[in-house]
């Protein structure tokens, strides 16, 4: 056998071709008694959460009644679950949180000091001093 093959799994490029949103499930935990859940209860009573769930139809919404501070749990497709405490937040602030976190990918936040992240080979290749014409080469 002249060439042997090494098994490599292809790399996913979400957004090339189809895009599937990374956040697939949101658990909304609220308490029916505590004062910290007031904002969330307001949203639930007004049916706003229902409306948001219809808008974001690609995300599963799970509403759970539980004692304690209210929270939003965002489940991402890289097995990350982010628990966001929304105690004492007002209704519109909670909606903002929902919007913000449902647009994330679940990866850790990081500052990227370059502009473009590429997994492709460079088109031009790397410059090499040995490939310049002999007359222009650097001499020691």
């Amino acid at each position: 056998m002249p060439v042997k093959a090494i098994a490599r799994t292809s790399i996913s490029r979400n957004g090339v071709g189809a895009f599937v949103s990374p956040c697939y499930k949101i658990s909304v935990n609220y308490c029916n008694w505590g004062g910290s859940s007031t904002g969330l209860r307001e949203l639930l009573n007004a049916g706003k959460i229902d409306k948001i769930a219809q808008e974001k139809s690609n995300i599963i919404f799970e509403v759970i009644k539980r004692t304690g501070h209210p929270s939003l749990k965002f489940h991402y497709n890289n097995d990350v679950v982010q628990d966001i405490n929304i105690a004492n937040l007002k209704a519109h602030e909670i909606v903002n949180k929902l919007d913000e976190y449902s647009q994330r990918s679940g990866n850790d936040l990081f500052k990227f000091n370059h502009r473009v992240l590429s997994i492709n080979d460079s088109v031009r290749g790397v410059w090499s001093p040995l490939h310049t014409p002999k007359t222009h080469r650097h001499k020691i």
Binding site: M1, P2, V3, K4, A5, I6, A7, R8, T9, S10, I11, S12, R13, N14, V16, G17, A18, V20, S21, P22, Y24, K25, I49, D50, A53, Q54, S57, N58, I59, I60, F61, E62, V63, I64, K65, R66, T67, H75, N77, N78, D79, I119, N120, D121, S128, L130, H131, I140
Partner: protein, 394 residues
């Protein structure tokens, strides 16, 4: 139709919550994922019936394909029930499927259980999806990379539609595994609709028998045999768990379902968007044992008149502290490849490998400089370099 993508439940009354454990169960039927297998053994025809004897459809006449029927299944999920399942509705929406694709088919695609109160499973959908996938993936690779050696081609097909790749895709689609038993569901007052949107491959006894430590994973008998057979071969690292296999099956079945509802053209589009858009690592799949001999043999096959020769193009100087050599492989006046190395030998090997890679990874373009079309495209045209000649033996 009422479609719900919300679950409302009251956890305060849950008396007991079990830790989630993943204990797999033996598969009912093998779902081979090996992409192209040109080597057959003659035993194949003897074994034909053996593998499927436990799970076989009954028929009136062998050639009356409409009459085939699995007796273990009695019904499909009613559409009204399926539309009550939040995960199912969400998955449908996540994949941007049209309303023609019924939710009950999507739910069936996620069901691998053979005995689930007579509910039809994804056996047929999976086979349908596998055939569609393997055609469109191989077509793409065969036309885009016609000179890929067969072993590399097979691995490349596997890297796009093997179980591991499909597992990743299933994860990205947000498919969850149904890991709670009937008792758990009863105790936690989980809605009965919830499970129809989840991947169901664990049997009830496996689910009940989840007393192991969390994080401790018990292999099913299928997996143990899989592991043993893999140990004998070189690729012992290619162990595939039941979960990975189940995700793969579900993804294939969803693609099969797309064909049944929306036809082939849309399915092709779906495969292109979700599977062929992934990044292939072809350059990293090659392992050469005797590259120079292979190149000589290849040039022989291509009827090159001149002998191969290897020449030094440039060097930093032998006495420099880190000498660098640039070496080229030539056939007459044509340069086939070039390599850089810190010794002549290294540079030579790199040059030869470079020449071989630039041959194998050749990808044709048409006369206007566009990428070639695949045979299933509308205005496909035959081009000269599109048929591979086969690799060489040493």
């Amino acid at each position: 139709m009422l479609r719900r993508s919300m679950i409302v439940k009251d956890l305060a009354r849950v008396s007991r919550l079990r830790g989630l454990m993943s204990i797999p169960q033996p598969r009912h039927y093998s779902q081979p994922s090996k992409a192209v297998n040109q080597q057959i053994n003659l035993q194949h025809y003897e074994n034909l019936n053996q593998s499927t004897s436990s799970f076989q459809a009954k028929y009136d006449n062998i050639q009356d394909y409409g009459s085939y029927k699995h007796n273990v299944f009695t019904h499909r999920l009613p559409e009204s029930t399926a539309s009550q399942s939040p995960p199912l509705v969400a998955l449908h929406s996540r994949l941007n499927l049209s309303s023609q694709y019924s939710l009950s088919t999507l739910s069936q695609a996620l069901n691998l259980n053979k005995f689930d109160d007579g509910l039809a499973n994804n056996y047929g959908l999976n086979i349908l999806g596998k055939n569609l996938l393997s055609y469109y993936v191989s077509e793409y690779l065969l036309v885009k990379y016609p000179r890929l050696p067969m072993p590399i081609h097979n691995v490349a097909v596997d890297s796009l539609m093997g179980s591991k790749a499909l597992y990743q895709i299933g994860k990205i689609w947000g498919i969850e595994v149904d890991k709670s038993s009937k008792l758990d569901k009863y105790l936690s007052q989980e809605s009965e609709f919830l499970k129809y949107g989840k991947l169901r491959y664990l049997t009830e006894e496996r689910l009940d028998n989840n007393e192991a430590e969390s994080g401790v994973y018990e292999l099913s008998s299928e997996e143990i045999t899989n592991l043993k057979s893999n140990n004998n071969t070189a690729s012992s690292s290619s162990f595939i768990s039941d979960e990975v296999e189940a995700y793969g099956s579900a993804v294939r079945a969803i693609i099969g379902g797309l064909y049944t509802h929306q036809g082939e053209e849309i399915t092709k589009q779906f495969i292109q968007d979700h599977i062929l858009s992934r990044k292939l690592l072809l350059e990293n799949m090659f392992e050469f044992s005797q590259p120079t001999r292979e190149l000589v043999r290849l040039c022989d096959k291509l009827n090159f008149q001149d002998p191969i020769d290897i020449r030094l193009i440039a060097e930093t100087g032998r006495l420099s502290s880190h000498a660098i050599y640039v070496v080229g492989v030539f056939c007459g006046v044509e340069k086939l490849g070039e390599g850089v190395g810190s010794s002549m030998n290294e540079a030579k090997t790199r040059a030869v490998v470079n020449a071989l890679m630039s041959y194998y990874l050749y990808s044709p373009i048409d006369n206007e400089g566009n990428e070639v079309k695949v045979p299933s495209d509308k205005d496909y045209k035959y081009l000269d370099g599109i048929v591979g000649l086969g690799d060489v033996a040493i």
